[in-house]
Symmetry: C2
Subunit: 478 residues, 2 copies
């Protein structure tokens, strides 16, 4: 009954994408659907998303954001109204041409994002400066047709939230764009994931935005995952959809708009940041099961004693933790250990005759494979500390890994076959970014907020040798 | 400052559908979108749905149901596999023919319901009787193209939950179908809405089902609203999608399936059951704001005193109730009274100098227009009772109204120009139902559970004169 009796998970070092696919399947997070590019999210995977959603909802509500629901359909002409926006999203659109048994005169896109679905209506709602700020959020499904789908990270349909806000001034709007990024970073902290946050380059920003802020995450193979983005749209959409207001000055002004979103890619990030060769490792905050109790017995006499002890334990914990006792009779303890390790349950309590007789509990930590025996009386206090320790350990491991895998380079020749992220002084010239992508498959990920006001370490661009503007982070990405 | 200074809501007696439309708009629940047939649900309306959803989620989770998410797209060939199902839904389908810049070889329907989207995958998950029962639920948007849209009740896109379950035996499946109907009835009780629950006729049952149970609601114009349905699908879909299991007997058996759903039509039902000529009346359980505090002052000296008193009041209530203090300075108290009455806030606290000086509170109840003055100290106890009283009053009014508007008839000539529901002994012959619909616009709504085992009061069918089987309820419907 070795830990990996089912050798169904590829080693990370052997083939990381295969490892990811294996974990998503074996942990029963999700699987491919009949519709190419779309996935079926199973209860265990969806629960993780629901827990992420609950925490972000709490933060958004506390910040005064209200929820709204707009139609999934966007008139194509709306999408085409903002030039950069339509260029960015056209290749990914799914289009409804027939409905109710008839061909539609006006074809409808399925929302790839809802700027073009919402802002004509916003224009009706906003008359004067007294109607501002308008801060609304939508939890919804969106569709962006993917040529190379990947579970959670790139499915043609995904669930997300998209905030859409309007302010009287650029200053207020830019302040909120930054604040939403802070909220996303705090959300990723909640997932025990460190983020690298700052500005996107001109080529990588949102189609239609003036500026995009991003929280980037490093996966365990050294690629980048875009964790969440917050866009200052300026008056680009306002001018197209007529979002204007009568100011206190009696004049008409364009509204300054933001949009910001986080999707169930965050579930994929949790897997890719915390997972190991044995499967998932979940931070307690979003573990569908935080504590699993596994009874161990050899015969009928110990069985009754052990199960009763487990039942009492379960009852004593269930108000405070998401706890489950694995009562399956047909499975061995070893099978169950492996089963719940693959699923990343942070804490396992192993209960045998010895524990029942002595009034003790054997605790196994998924994050570091350690075991300890403690008296039942000490369990409540120990568990509370343990949850915090596990969270901190996962966070610190991820942070150490990320920092170790960011390499400073002065010239793009140094990239070679190396993986991980690269810090380099860059001219910010889009043409150099195109070259970098072509030659190494790397793109700029983020100009960290702190680097925005600093001079670059090298005054020459690592690609072109022309004057560098800032020190940026570059990586391959999902 | 009369109550209805803004005479923007049509009287119910004048034109009920216009009244409904006015209330939905004036209470800022929702409005028409740019896409014909689809609506925009505004924060106040969406919050009502979110509160309904939270309560139903709680009940489903307590019953052991888990959530899942399947793609919004259904291969057309899946939909076409079950004959009755495709006949029922074909006229309402929206179809994606182009995606990612190309014409799709296999066209995709947007789910009108997810039987055909889910059950091929169910077939993979279910191997043996040990995998049963499988009880999953999905919160999702679905699309059924509507020729005659109506806010919440008939939009082309709507939000709902759909449960899809598989059992080893017909007996277990039929037991759950009934249990889910009980859960829906208890959910409507939560909304202070009485339901009339039982079986649908052959013509009115779900396309593809063996039997449909329904919870019907009476709107204030005497029409029926289908509140929720629970379907026993038999093995109809199982045989098409190969949902079978290896039994303990070593033989292969078809799974017995159910599906059951409740949508945001329930928000429409709340409006149509409880609303009056002044707007919404919300039961406290789902009121986005349960208590609104309106300060009343004439000059600056009373202003400070009153606002401070309001602030303390707000603070003392906010942990227990969804409470809001209307601090708008530009609006009169009379405007605010009307504003919150239109929005159906159950309890208003009016706070003027007198109240602040005497340490009292003037309470206004939206459900019966009554006012009372009580000492601040008594407020917590009074409010708790009040919420229960308001709920009970709304429920009892709706029940009395519904019962008063069900008329027993022996012959369909008695229908004439009468509104409301009719109870009649019926042969259950689909041809008579067709005739009834054509002549009076009425359809069978439900055979109440209690009537299933009773002999009909009249042994002759009220339409054909042939032998009657049971006493059914008939009505016009939304």
């Amino acid at each position: 009954m070795g830990k990996n009796e089912k050798k169904t998970i590829t080693k990370q070092a052997v083939d990381f994408p295969a490892w990811y696919q294996d974990v998503v399947r074996e942990a029963e997070l999700a699987e491919a659907s009949e519709v190419r590019g779309c996935g079926v999210v199973r209860p265990y995977g969806l629960k993780i998303w629901e827990l992420i959603k609950a925490e972000l909802s709490r933060q958004l509500e506390a910040d005064g954001v209200e929820n709204v629901y707009f139609p999934i359909f966007v008139p194509l002409e709306n999408l085409e109204a903002e030039k950069d926006h339509v260029e960015g999203f056209s290749p990914e659109l799914a289009v409804v041409t027939h409905a109710g048994g008839e061909e539609l005169v006006n074809k409808l896109a399925i929302r790839p994002t809802s700027e073009a679905a919402m802002y004509k209506t916003y224009a009706k709602w906003i008359q004067s400066y007294k109607d501002l700020p308008l801060r609304l959020n939508q939890w919804a499904n969106v569709v962006r047709w993917e040529k190379r789908p990947r579970a959670f990270l790139r499915w043609s349909e995904f669930l997300w939230q998209e905030g859409h806000t309007v302010f009287a001034t650029e200053e207020e709007a830019r302040e909120e764009v930054k604040k939403m990024l802070d909220i996303y970073q705090s959300l990723y902290n909640f997932l025990a994931i460190p983020t690298f946050a700052g500005r996107k380059s001109e080529s990588e920003k949102f189609a239609g935005a003036v500026m995009t802020l991003t929280a980037e995450v490093m996966a365990k193979d050294g690629k980048a995952i875009q964790g969440a983005t917050s866009h200052y749209l300026g008056t680009n959409f306002a001018e197209v959809f007529d979002v204007k207001y009568l100011g206190a000055d009696g004049e008409s002004h364009w509204g300054h708009q933001n949009s910001w979103g986080l999707s169930w890619r965050s579930v994929g990030a949790v897997v890719m940041v915390h997972g190991d060769d044995n499967g998932l490792r979940l931070p307690p905050n979003i573990a569908p099961i935080q504590v699993v109790i596994v009874p161990i017995y050899k015969d009928d006499s110990s069985r009754d004693k052990v199960l009763q002890y487990c039942r009492q334990l379960n009852d004593s914990l269930k108000d405070k933790y998401r706890v489950k006792t694995d009562l399956r009779d047909a499975q061995t303890p070893g099978f169950k250990f492996n089963y719940w390790e693959v699923r990343g349950v942070p804490v396992r309590l192993e209960i045998g005759s010895r524990e029942a007789d002595n009034g003790t509990v054997t605790i196994f930590r998924r994050d570091n494979d350690s075991k300890e025996d403690i008296a039942l009386l000490e369990l409540p206090g120990r568990l509370e500390k343990l949850m915090a320790e596990i969270h901190a350990n996962l966070y610190n491991q991820a942070l150490a890994f990320s920092e170790k895998n960011i390499r400073r380079i002065e010239n793009w020749d140094e990239i070679g076959e190396e993986s991980g992220w690269f810090e380099a002084s860059w001219s910010e010239d889009p043409e150099t970014e195109r070259q970098l992508k072509e030659k190494y498959g790397l793109v700029s990920r983020v100009l960290l907020a702190g680097k925005e006001t600093e001079a670059p370490k090298n005054d020459k661009c690592f690609i072109s040798g022309k004057p560098a503007k800032h020190d940026w982070l570059f990586a391959k990405c999902y």
